[in-house]
């Protein structure tokens, strides 16, 4: 366990004086490593708050460059960053905010071929991606590895957020396969309220910090559904599905390299893709 130096005792003093965090809780955060998949709308607040909280090592996976249309919500990046790789502006933001944090930047897409290796190096993964293919890939790779996942997703005024422990239930227990292509449009097609990923990303960062502090009630087993228009929150229970192809009693998936992460991302042979 890390001993806090005088500068850290100052930087994290508002954590350290809390009984529920204290020096040992802060040391646990400094000792933690988190892989954030996506440095966009959700990834921005997640990276900002995890860096500020002193998560000791942050991995950032994204293969996109900053576009001007991102800046309405992706608050990690600035106007001067347009055209630059998102992992570069994200890494610089984290380095400027907190020298305690080691940043690993991966300018790549998460794929079947690199997912296992990337995930293996971290204690927890944050799914801040923007498409169903990556979401099912993150779920399957992390569930097979037993790695916890903070899941967040947004659509116009609505957001969904939960935490998977890595032991099941998993995202496929909730939604076994993706909707048909085009049935649930992405942000580029549908638009999104700029502040919505800020809210959902902050829920994710909250869950991650609580996870390492081992504090409070996690969202494990329930999907929080937030409606920014109504300012309402609903909960969908997530029960373990004994027939789940990834975390059920007779799983059919043993490696993400066996599956296809396009179309419906289905693992059942009978489903029509």
């Amino acid at each position: 366990m890390v001993d806090l130096d005088p500068e850290q005792l100052d930087r994290y003093s508002r954590h350290v004086i809390m009984d529920d965090v204290g020096p040992s809780g802060q040391a646990a955060l400094l000792d933690a490593s988190v892989l954030v998949v996506g440095a966009g709308g959700l990834g921005s607040p997640v990276l900002q708050y995890l860096a500020a909280a002193g998560i000791g090592r942050l991995g950032i996976v994204d293969d996109d460059a900053v576009e001007r249309s991102n800046l309405q919500r992706q608050v990690l990046h600035t106007d001067d960053d347009v055209g630059r790789p998102k992992v570069d502006s994200a890494s610089e933001f984290v380095a400027d905010l907190n020298p305690d944090v080691t940043v690993d930047a991966y300018e790549t897409r998460l794929t079947r071929d690199n997912a296992d290796e990337l995930i293996a190096d971290y204690d927890l993964v944050v799914d801040a991606s923007d498409n169903f293919g990556t979401r099912y890939l993150v779920n399957d790779a992390c569930t097979l590895a037993g790695t916890p996942v903070s899941h967040g997703a947004i659509y116009r005024f609505e957001g969904q957020v939960t935490t998977f422990s890595g032991e099941g239930p998993c995202y496929r227990c909730l939604f076994p396969s993706a909707p048909p292509e085009g049935a649930v449009p992405d942000c580029a097609t549908a638009g999104v309220l700029g502040v919505l990923p800020g809210t959902i990303g902050c829920f994710q960062a909250t869950e991650v910090v609580k996870w390492f502090l081992d504090e409070g009630e996690s969202l494990d087993g329930r999907l929080l559904v937030y409606d920014a228009s109504e300012m309402s929150v609903d909960e969908v229970p997530i029960a373990p599905n004994p027939d789940c192809p990834v975390c059920g009693s007779e799983p059919v998936l043993s490696s993400v390299t066996e599956a296809a992460y396009d179309g419906r991302c289905s693992l059942s042979e009978s489903a029509d893709d």
Binding site: G152, P176, P237
Partner: protein, 90 residues
């Protein structure tokens, strides 16, 4: 009783709350919802008429497929039913 519809389903229906009457079961309430909004049918039911597996249905906050008798679960006036599709934006 009434249905609450989320994300794309509310947009297809043009409203996010739909009242239905005279339903004795979750399945009858679903039929009543789809008669009121036929455009929902292709999003909610698959080719053999069962609920598509990527949409979660709740009855008063519980999943009737896990906690009850699925579409045969009895419903009462005043109950709330809800349909949640997944979303993917980030």
């Amino acid at each position: 009783m009434h249905w609450r519809l989320f994300a794309t389903l509310a947009e297809t229906a043009g409203e996010d709350r739909v009242s239905v009457d005279d339903a004795e079961t979750v399945g009858e309430a679903l039929d009543a919802l789809l008669s009121a909004h036929p455009a929902l049918e292709s999003e909610v039911l698959d080719d053999d008429g069962s609920l598509v597996d990527h949409i979660r249905l709740l009855h008063d906050g519980d999943d009737p497929f896990a906690a009850g008798d699925g579409l045969d679960t009895p419903v009462s006036p005043g109950d709330e039913l809800a349909l949640f599709p997944p979303v993917s934006g980030g």
